[in-house]
């Protein structure tokens, strides 16, 4: 998968490096701003209240 992405990235090595960095940042941003906030309340370690 990673190899495939690397091969698909254009611009030679510099372009690939830049493209990779952009992709990584995009993925991390997606995780931090969308995926994790959505998953977090559903995880078992964020419950701090007492209730029935």
């Amino acid at each position: 998968m990673y190899g495939w992405i690397w091969r698909k990235l254009p611009g030679g090595v510099p372009g690939k490096v830049i493209g990779s960095a952009i992709l990584i940042l995009a993925v991390v941003a997606l995780l931090f701003l969308v995926v994790f906030p959505y998953v977090d309340p559903r995880l078992p370690f964020s419950d701090v209240t007492v209730n029935q």
């Binding site: 998968m1 990673y2 091969r7 698909k8 030679g12 991390v28 995780l31 931090f32 994790f36 998953v39 977090d40 309340p41 078992p44 370690f45 964020s46 419950d47 701090v48 209240t49 007492v50 209730n51 029935q52």
Partner: protein, 647 residues
């Protein structure tokens, strides 16, 4: 390192020609007649190439050193002159006329051209020598020449079969050579036949180089298919091919191209479409090479494999082509190649570059008709790979083992990816949410302060009808008070928001909506995260009996103290009937009842209860802190209460 690597012989037909001419004069002896064919420096070129190759490998080329010194410092360039030299060298090893530094290209290309003129002579020489030098070379040598001759003409495509297309062109060249060469010129053109004879001293050199290459290749092949390509780059394949098989004459060039690797072909291909075209030729070459080499030596097979894999790789680089060319040129194929290359050039710029060299040098790599045909087959495979478009070729070859490896690699990458995601999740929970909460808290505090400045106190509303009764409805998520815990530092302050839902708790400590507001009789309950989201209650377990928990509203400071005898264990049950700190199940809502642990009892005290998760990072239990209001509310107008200073 390798002479092959040298891009030198970039397509400079002009130079080449000149070189040829010049040498021609000088080489007349050797090359006399042939001169006619510019494109066919083959032999000379070949010789040069070999020499260069040899040198590259061993450092100073044995023969050429002597020769070239005179000619020029640039060994790398097997310029036409060199070819001439080669031709001469054939006669006289030392002679190599390197006159032309111009020939950046390894002798190969340049060599080819000069050779054209020279070639003939060279061949002759080689022919004579061939016998002496080595049979194998002859084969290789002969072919190149034939090819080279043709190269000029459309022949390129016409390969070895050459005989045909190449022949016409070749004949001329060879004729020249022919004269020089004892062996029948025609024969050479036809196929490798002449070549064998052609091998001159250069041939000998080549032999050495070839053998070295062969060894390398063999080693590479033996080592691993994957690396075969790696070694192939050294171009052992070509060399090997020559030595190995007479047949090589036809295949000589092909071997080089074959050198490329299929695996990587695709990889590189993506980089440049141009490569595709080359790929085709190479592919052909490969095929040829394979076929040819199969016989010659086990190494050949290995090389082939390697070659194929990396073929694409090299194809990319013009240099590769050049390299290939040189080999070919050396082989005598030069002329033919020229044509082929030209065609390729047309096909793609990239090739054009490489071709230029070749053309100039009368690249031997010319695509023979046969090769072309083969190309069709391989072209489909490798070319595509190079092109990037065609992964097909590679795939076909994939073995079961390769597929299994790919599968396992995929699984491995999946797990690695999952691991990274989980790691990021931990970072998110512990660091990123704190970061975000800090901003949220800042906004909440600012908003609350503005509200206070405007004279609005969210906690003041309808007077409670009964103690503990909620007096006013505060919008969920709105801040209404500040909570301080002096023991945690003067900078410990959070804005308490209304509500204990996930969203509210992400903003800060949340007030259970069904509990009274600060200062009221009853049990004010506040929940907060222990890890992440600002971690407001991270260290609640550090509180001791008597520790102050201060809550400030618009008008008052309320100082609560953890129940129990000051300094004693907060876990001990106090006189009030409940401990200052207790660990309970998540479902134990009794802890936030108006009278803790006594649901339904009528409250008479003003209490504060904090809840958070326990142990850290889990939600298995809840840690609860009970505190009771200490003294009367402290008016904000009087400054800060003593409790805020740690007393």
């Amino acid at each position: 390192m390798d002479p092959w690597d040298r891009p030198a012989p970039q397509g400079r037909p002009d130079e080449w020609n000149q070189g040829d001419r010049a040498p021609a004069g000088g080489w007349e002896t050797v090359l006399p007649p042939v001169g006619g064919a510019p494109g066919k420096p083959e032999h000379g070129g070949a010789g040069v190439d070999e020499a260069t190759a040899f040198m590259s490998q061993w450092g100073p080329p044995p023969l050429r050193p002597t020769e070239e010194p005179a000619g020029s410092p640039e060994w790398g360039r097997p310029s036409p002159p060199s070819r001439a030299g080669a031709g001469r060298s054939a006669d006289n090893p030392v002679v190599p006329p390197r006159g032309r530094p111009d020939w950046s290209g390894p002798a190969g290309p340049s060599a080819p051209l000069p050779p054209v003129a020279d070639a003939p002579p060279v061949q002759p020489a080689s022919g004579s020598r061939l016998p002496t030098t080595s049979p194998a070379q002859p084969a290789g040598g002969p072919r190149p020449p034939s090819a080279s001759p043709t190269g000029g003409s459309p022949a390129r495509t016409a390969p070895p079969a050459a005989g045909g297309p190449g022949l016409s062109t070749a004949p001329p060249a060879q004729p020249a050579g022919g004269p020089g060469l004892s062996t029948g010129p025609p024969a050479q053109p036809a196929g490798g036949s002449q070549l064998p004879s052609a091998p001159t001293e250069p041939a000998a050199e080549r032999w050495i180089a070839d053998r070295i290459a062969a060894d390398r290749s063999a080693a590479g092949a033996g080592a691993d298919d994957d690396f075969a390509g790696y070694w192939a780059t050294d171009r052992p394949a070509k060399r090997q091919t020559r030595p190995t098989g007479p047949d090589d004459s036809a295949t000589d060039e092909p071997p080089n191209r074959p050198g490329t690797d299929e695996r990587f072909a695709g990889y590189w291909v993506t980089d440049s479409a141009a490569e595709h075209p080359p790929a085709g030729p190479r592919g052909r070459a490969r095929n040829d090479a394979e076929q040819r080499f199969a016989g010659p030596g086990g190494t050949a097979g290995g090389e082939k494999a390697g070659g194929e894999r990396f073929a694409g790789y090299w194809a990319r680089d013009p240099g590769d082509r050049q390299r290939a060319v040189p080999d070919d040129s050396t082989e005598v194929m030069g002329p033919f190649d020229v044509g082929a290359w030209s065609r390729d050039a047309a096909a793609s710029p990239a090739r054009a570059r490489g071709q230029q060299h070749q053309d100039d040098g009368a690249s031997p790599v010319t695509a023979y008709p046969d090769e072309v045909a083969r190309k069709g087959g391989r072209g489909g495979e490798q070319p595509p790979g190079r092109g990037g478009g065609s992964g097909g070729p590679q795939r076909p070859r994939r073995t079961v083992g390769a597929r299994i490896r790919t599968f396992l690699r995929g699984i491995g990458q999946t797990f690695i990816t999952l691991g990274l995601v989980l790691l990021l999740l931990a970072v998110y929970e512990v660091w990123f949410t704190d970061l975000m909460n800090h901003r949220t808290q800042k906004d909440l505090t600012t908003s609350l302060q503005q509200q206070w400045d405007n004279g609005d106190d969210p906690t003041v509303g309808t007077a409670p009808a009964r103690p503990g009764e909620k007096v006013r409805s505060i919008p969920l998520g709105d801040g209404f008070a500040l909570i301080y815990i002096p023991e945690f530092g003067t900078d410990y302050v959070f804005t308490v928001v209304e509500g204990t839902g996930a969203d509210e708790l992400n903003e800060g400590p949340g007030h259970y909506v069904d509990t009274p507001l600060p200062g009221a009789v009853g049990n004010v309950a506040i929940a907060g995260h222990r890890v992440g989201k600002g971690s407001p209650f991270l260290n609640l377990d550090k509180l001791k009996a008597g520790s102050a928990i201060v809550i400030r509203t618009r008008s008052y400071w309320y100082t609560y103290r953890v129940v129990g005898d000051p300094g004693s264990n907060a876990d001990a049950v106090s006189a009030l009937g409940f401990p200052g700190r207790e660990i309970v199940d998540p479902s134990d809502v009794g802890v936030i009842a108006p009278v803790p642990d006594k649901p339904g009892a009528t409250p008479t005290r003003r209490l504060l209860t904090l809840t958070t998760c326990h142990p850290k990072f889990t939600a298995r239990q809840r840690m609860v802190i009970h505190a009771e209001l200490d003294g009367a509310p402290f008016p904000v107008g009087k400054g800060t209460p003593p409790s805020m200073t740690g007393s």
